[in-house]
């Protein structure tokens, strides 16, 4: 039987080869063929999840909620020290100095990354802005969000914090952070589907030992991770509860 692994579509493009290397490592650990299925967007990935075509997933926190509560997935591990935070940025010469300066009617560049959008909208509340009082410019990537700001097409942009920090130094210099979230508990999680109960323990042990193993450390390096931390069901339930409070 071939297992299907998939990765949240918001992974950094320069980590693509890293996920293929992880896929090979995973197949060796489980002594089972593993197929890495990558999707262009969240909608396509959710359709695959709904059709039960996913066995192992490195999931966006927003989707982790659905996977745990509706599909019976179990969290295994999360990357060490990689909490997901959001940034609202403007063009460097913008007159706006803080979120509260933003005005109704502003055009905001954003991606389809659901948790980044949710965290960013939460940070706009203090400016009395909501979905009803702003307009969105949908972008396919964070690089395009930056371009929309630099071209003046959008007045503000929502970024995954790590993606903002990963922009080229030249681009970052032409942008300015208005606000950066410090939530600390929202994070991507590696989960296994209900059919993998028998291999869960074996997989978790292998993941937690990766950093101590030469080959495993190399795989982690290709993903940009220092290691994995174990995640208990209750840790993920807590994150889901917290995100539920942030949803409007």
């Amino acid at each position: 039987m071939t297992l299907n692994l998939t990765v949240s579509p918001d992974f950094a493009p320069d980590r693509l080869s890293g996920w293929y290397i992880f896929n090979t490592w995973l197949a060796r650990q489980l002594d089972t063929p593993v197929h890495l299925a990558l999707y262009d967007d969240f909608a396509a990935q959710r359709a695959a999840i709904a059709a039960d075509q996913v066995d192992i997933i490195y999931a966006n926190p927003f989707d982790a909620a659905m996977l745990v509560r509706e599909k019976g997935f179990v969290p295994l591990a999360r990357p060490d020290g990689q909490c997901d935070e959001a940034v609202i940025a403007v063009e460097a010469a913008s007159p706006w100095q803080c979120v509260e300066d933003l005005q109704p009617g502003i055009r905001i560049a954003t991606t389809d990354d659901p948790h980044v959008h949710m965290m960013s909208m939460m940070m706009l509340e203090s400016a009395d802005l909501s979905q009803e009082t702003v307009t969105f410019d949908a972008c396919d990537s964070y690089v395009l969000v930056a371009k929309a700001l630099l071209s003046g097409q959008a007045g503000a942009g929502f970024f995954l914090s790590a993606a903002f920090d990963g922009l080229s130094p030249v681009t970052r210099k032409r942008l300015r952070v208005l606000i950066r979230s410090q939530i600390s508990v929202i994070e991507h999680v590696l989960l296994t589907g209900p059919g993998l109960g028998g291999q869960r323990q074996q997989l978790q042990s292998a993941l937690l030992g990766m950093a101590q193993d030469t080959k495993g450390a190399g795989v982690l390096g290709s993903l940009g991770f220092d290691g994995w931390q174990p995640v208990e069901q209750e840790d993920t339930e807590f994150m889901i509860d917290l995100m539920e409070t942030l949803a409007s």
Binding site: M122, M123, A127, Q182, I183, E237, F238, L242, T245, L246
Partner: protein, 161 residues
């Protein structure tokens, strides 16, 4: 009793707060407001009786209490006397009915200052049973704070019931 702190000009009063369980506390209340920290969330969890079981670092920082002082205390330890009891009655009725509660809340710090939050409270369901509640507070809009302050003043505020 009321007076002014000469150095800062803040208005300070002492007020006896009475809680639902009958306990009382003489609290120093000042008009000094601490701004909500940008980008952060204040998070706590309670058991089903409203006793605090978890607080995050922002909660500790904003409340002025240590974590050890908070864990095991009723959540009403933060209740500001300017808040009407009806607001909390609505909160409990809403979450006990299994619904999400939102509201603007003025909280009381240990040092008597206050901080406004936009709070959301949900029930923590595990295997179909409510095992506690999670409360998350975020930075409120100033306009909504001012509206809420007027509304709560019209309701007369309340002792911390």
């Amino acid at each position: 009793m009321s007076g002014s702190a000469a150095a800062t000009g803040e208005v300070v009063r002492e007020q006896l707060l009475t809680y639902q369980d009958g306990s009382e506390r003489l609290a120093t209340i000042s008009d000094r407001e601490i701004p909500f920290p940008d980008g952060r969330l204040i998070v706590s969890r309670t058991d089903t009786a409203g006793v605090i079981t978890h607080v995050n670092a922002a909660f500790v920082e904003m409340s002025g209490y240590s974590e050890a002082e908070l864990i095991g205390q009723p959540h009403s330890i933060l209740r500001h006397p300017d808040m009407p009891a009806a607001a909390f009655q609505d909160l409990w009725e809403t979450i006990r009915a299994g619904n999400k509660w939102h509201g603007y809340v003025k909280n009381l710090r240990k040092d008597g200052a206050c901080y406004w939050v936009y709070a959301t409270v949900i029930a923590n369901l595990r295997h179909g049973e409510v095992v506690g509640y999670t409360s998350v507070r975020r930075k409120p809009s100033r306009r909504r704070v001012e509206e809420s302050a007027r509304s709560y003043a019209a309701m007369g505020g309340a002792q911390a019931t």
